[in-house]
Symmetry: C2
Subunit: 304 residues, 2 copies
């Protein structure tokens, strides 16, 4: 039940033969999340051998084509494959009207429900929660309304130490639940068995923050504080800082600054402008500020 | 100035890792036409090294996703590449409203004009003509309003036979135009120089018919009569004739019948259902009826 991120594409604006536009497949605590859905995402999912049909929640950052033009095709394929499970789509206000216009003219009648959760707040909000995972928006600053997303595992259950537990016949199966949650066990004679004797530590919950597209924005730091992995766009190098500002993007140096301020454990850069043939230059610039920076590896799952 | 067809994708419904959904690039008399535009077409155009920016006319057969979901991305990329030349899009009524809804919500502001030519006639009509090429609709019978397209070179100019022409100083450069068009030349003494002495034959004009998606439909035969190359969908084998009828498609056997009745010179099949792993079965079935049948070769240009 580890958490894996598969970057399906990280190209900015125009897709190329080498790299697809933005889309990511996140498997966290057995939940399958799709983040953004550029053109060709359904084929990238196939290539990644991702659990295609288990995607029940899609998070769209913003309505620029390179982040959303794969959505109509994906939903259409779900229908053709006989999907029945409802699909939740989170994205900016307008996504519902746009998708419904497309469904109407292409006569795409879903055999399943598509539930649109339209976002318009400028503040971070919790938009998804179940017993194991929470998702929050990370309001960004782009040319169009845009959110990043923070995915957090909830604290996990401790592991039973059966060798110790078997020494006390008084502990029954119905008590395991409380033990996993960290409670001590009180014997009939009043003796307190400390939880840390009866259980071993749970895996620490992990978190992942996706931030694309945005200008350099320090207000996201408190939201993503101590995140295990941060994906942050770095469309330009810092010598094109003005261009980045003008087009609503971040430089590699700035992305590294955000990672350092947020005390992220790792940073992956992406969304590089097509003007750069060699991505190593982004890594060089960012590593000066934040050494734990990595380049995206398309279709290769990363354990968080 | 030969005519080349590059099949960019021929998959039906759901794109796969191997084959893309329907799209074709036709280069006829130096005009670049795009026929249908399934998801991922812009990347297929790149892979084919097609003259991307020279596409001024796009013909969409119908508004099912596997024939049109690549159009928003292609137009968006044209804009990002700084296109200024107007773009003509031919397709079923509704295509304009759908594309404009997408442009609105994705804030895609073209720096160039997109001229939509909406089609709704049930009869074949000439929808494009310039001095060298004509394009006609081929009304088809699918679950949704659908047209195939017939592309015809106009008769070409004859070639000057300079060896003969140079024997007659009376023939001046300004006379060449008439000679190329087949006119005889009358000398001052009244003697008639026959055109076939002064010129050699022009290359015969070629024609190409694209027919997808449709039920078996004999009414298209007179429209595509004697076509040099026919691309016809063959979603199923004939043992699934009922399924073909129900879903609005043709079998390989029926496509071959159409080619034979139309006296087409060659037939390429495509739009195969994903249920078939080996396409050879389509070829076997069709060749019984029409031996000059071929399978589509994705991204390999075919000279017509």
């Amino acid at each position: 039940m580890s958490t894996y991120l598969t970057i399906l594409g990280f190209n900015s604006a125009i897709p190329t033969v080498k790299s697809a536009p933005t889309a990511q497949f996140l498997e966290m605590e057995e939940r399958c999340f799709l983040i953004d859905c550029g053109e060709g995402t359904q084929v990238q999912l196939r290539k990644a051998k991702a659990k295609f049909s288990k995607i029940n929640h899609i998070f769209i950052s913003h309505l620029h084509g390179d982040h959303v033009f794969g959505l109509p095709g994906l939903i259409s394929s779900f229908r053709l494959l006989g999907r029945e499970t409802p699909l939740n789509v989170y994205g900016p206000k307008g996504i519902k009207a746009m998708m419904e216009a497309i469904f109407k003219y292409t006569e795409t009648y879903q055999g399943f429900e598509v539930i649109f959760h339209e976002l318009s707040s400028k503040n971070s909000e919790k938009i998804f929660e179940d017993n194991r995972v929470e998702v929050y928006t990370i309001p960004l600053d782009h040319r169009i309304y845009c959110n990043g997303y923070l995915f957090k595992e909830k604290p996990k259950e401790r592991h039973l130490n059966m060798k110790e537990i078997s020494k006390y016949p008084e502990i029954e199966i119905c008590d395991y639940h409380n033990l996993k949650r960290g409670k001590d066990f009180i014997l009939k004679d009043g003796y307190v068995l400390k939880n840390e004797v009866l259980t071993t530590a749970a895996e620490p919950p992990v978190s992942y923050a996706f931030c694309s597209d945005t200008r350099y924005l320090e207000s996201i730091v408190p939201i993503i504080k101590n995140v295990d992995l941060l994906y942050h766009e770095a469309t330009f190098l810092h010598d094109l800082k003005e261009m980045a500002e003008y087009t609503g993007h971040t430089t590699a140096l700035e992305a590294a600054k955000i990672a350092r301020k947020a005390k992220a454990k790792k940073l992956i850069l992406g969304h590089f402008s097509n003007r750069y043939a060699d991505y190593q230059v982004f890594l060089n610039e960012a590593c000066e500020i934040f050494p734990e920076t990595y380049l995206p590896q398309q279709l290769e799952p990363v354990k968080i």
